[in-house]
Amino acid sequence: MKINRKLFPYVLTLPALLVCVGILIPFFTAVYYSLQRYNLKMPHMKGFIWFDNYINIFTDASFWNTIKVSLTYTFFTIIVELLLGLGIALLLAKRNWLNNILGVLLILPLMIAPALASLIWKLMINPNFGIVNYILSFVGLSEFTWASHPDTVLFTLIMVDVWVFTPFIMVLLLAGLRSLPRQPFEAAELDGVPEYYKFFRITLPMLFPFILTASLFRLLESIQQFDIIYALSQGGPGESSMVFQVSAYLHTFQYTNIGKSAAMMVVLWAICYFLCHVFVQQWQKLKIKTKGELLQ
């Protein structure tokens, strides 16, 4: 038996593709649901209503709140993680025993499931015996409310996200820093270029592709974050930490409004798709630019 040479690569990739196409079907089903009045508690009301679900969510103040909370969460997690990750990568860039050990140990938080990381922090910030409040009591902050107050809950969630995912950025940027060519730095050294100039004019531009990749991965994960928020606050208190996926989860399983929650998820998908698209474009531009510079 001989398989046509041209068909052969398709034969090899087919099984993987088939399994994933099985996932595409629910995707389209979800889009279809989003155009329906579909509430599990009222099955006889089921029917096609075009864009009413979308109009419904966009005229709903609580959905705008969800968008606001999600974007705030995403913005702060990415900014803090990028700055912190970059700082740590720069600190650990030089190879010595301490940096090598820390480089290994710092990936540990990343290897803990986000849901479980939230539980670790939940025990640490417990108002009755939590070690964090005990330590903070020395600086007069023992009454910090963490996840139990609307004003502090987002801060708490962002902190846990930073704890879990900064190592991801650190790993990428550290790998990037250590793979940079030596010559520009040696040349700068010979010319006696000051440190900050070297950093802003050589290190940062050369590291930029790594920074861009890391931010895209984090951006998409952060705007879709579910595990940390579900495990720590479930969107509360009130709706002060209600993000997209937690909101969709509650709409499905508490209010059984499948149509509405599908519409929310389609909006989230559109945002992610848009972000991805913009990013890939920028990435290609950057690639062409750096290639051009190398040729010169």
Binding site: A113, L119, I120, A175, C272
Partner: protein, 284 residues
């Protein structure tokens, strides 16, 4: 003088990093050896007699708290579920993913890049968008609450990861060795099995371990698509912590037991892990 200020700042930075990122892990480990009384002290005790009572309680699944009725927990079952789900997911991913990764690396074929990109893009779809309809489908065809359903959905996380890492490894291997072997009269499959796979073995091993960790750490799929009978430790531990009658030492112990496998795995394969994470991210 300037030198001194920098080194002091640096020491401070190291201390802050270690404190923030590593102290929580150490503290939870510490708590898991404490009795409930020791944990509940207002001033934390630093010196105490470590006890294994929590670990034994978790293993036996029977907890008697003074003043309460005896409680039964299913943590051991959760651990077994996690092991089953993660290992079968990785096995399936290997069978599906390695040939596909090879095809993407070796052949330029029409639509190849598009297929590869489509497979990667599954990583970026909101999980709930897919799971909610799946939940209804699985209920209809009787797959709800089965290992098979979850293992299938886990492919969404593990397959793209493996594809992109292993593809990079295959690309780095020169095809000449395979050609030479095939010229000796061996079939394609023989050269794939005897030459290509052994050469890409480090990459495949690292990618599978990374997939295992990601599968183990997944939360949302099992939360929605399974009942407590098949749920893994990530979901099990959450049920644990919200049941307020359970002593805190046991909760800490439950968390330690559920994160320890991935942490130990991560330490063993850290070299490949960093390579895999950066390769997967940068090439993808």
């Amino acid at each position: 003088m300037k030198f001194n200020i920098w080194s002091i700042l640096k020491i401070f930075a190291y201390a802050a990093i270690i404190l923030f990122f590593l102290f929580p892990i150490a503290w939870i480990l510490n708590m898991s050896f404490m009795t409930n009384d020791e944990i509940l002290r207002k001033v934390p005790v630093l010196f105490y007699e470590p006890t294994l009572k929590n670990y034994i309680g978790i293993w036996e699944g029977e907890i008697s708290i003074p003043g309460f009725a005896t409680m039964y927990i299913y943590f051991k079952q959760n651990l077994i579920n996690s092991a089953i789900l993660s290992s079968f997911s990785v096995a399936l991913t290997l069978v599906l993913g390695v040939p596909a990764a090879y095809a993407f690396a070796r052949y330029k074929f029409k639509g190849g890049e598009d297929i590869a990109f489509t497979l990667l893009s599954f990583r970026f779809a909101p999980a709930l968008l897919i799971i909610i309809p799946l939940n209804l489908y699985f209920t209809q065809i009787g797959l709800y609450d089965s290992y098979i359903a979850l293992i299938w959905v886990y492919q969404l996380i593990t397959l793209p990861l493996l594809l992109w890492i292993v593809r990079g490894y295959f690309e780095d291997i020169s095809p000449d060795i395979e050609y030479a072997y095939r010229l000796d009269g061996h079939s394609w499959f023989q050269s794939f099995w005897k030459i290509s796979i052994p050469l890409a073995k480090p990459g495949i091993a690292a990618a599978s371990l990374l997939c295992f960790i990601y599968a183990w750490n997944n939360f949302v799929f099992a939360l929605i698509l399974g009942s407590s009978a098949i749920q893994p430790v990530t979901v099990g531990a959450l049920a644990f912590i919200t049941a307020s009658a359970i002593p805190y030492g046991l909760i800490a112990c439950g968390i330690v037991v559920s994160v320890l496998p991935t942490l130990i795995l991560a330490l063993f394969i850290q070299k490949y892990l960093v390579q895999g994470l950066s390769l997967g991210a940068i090439k993808g």
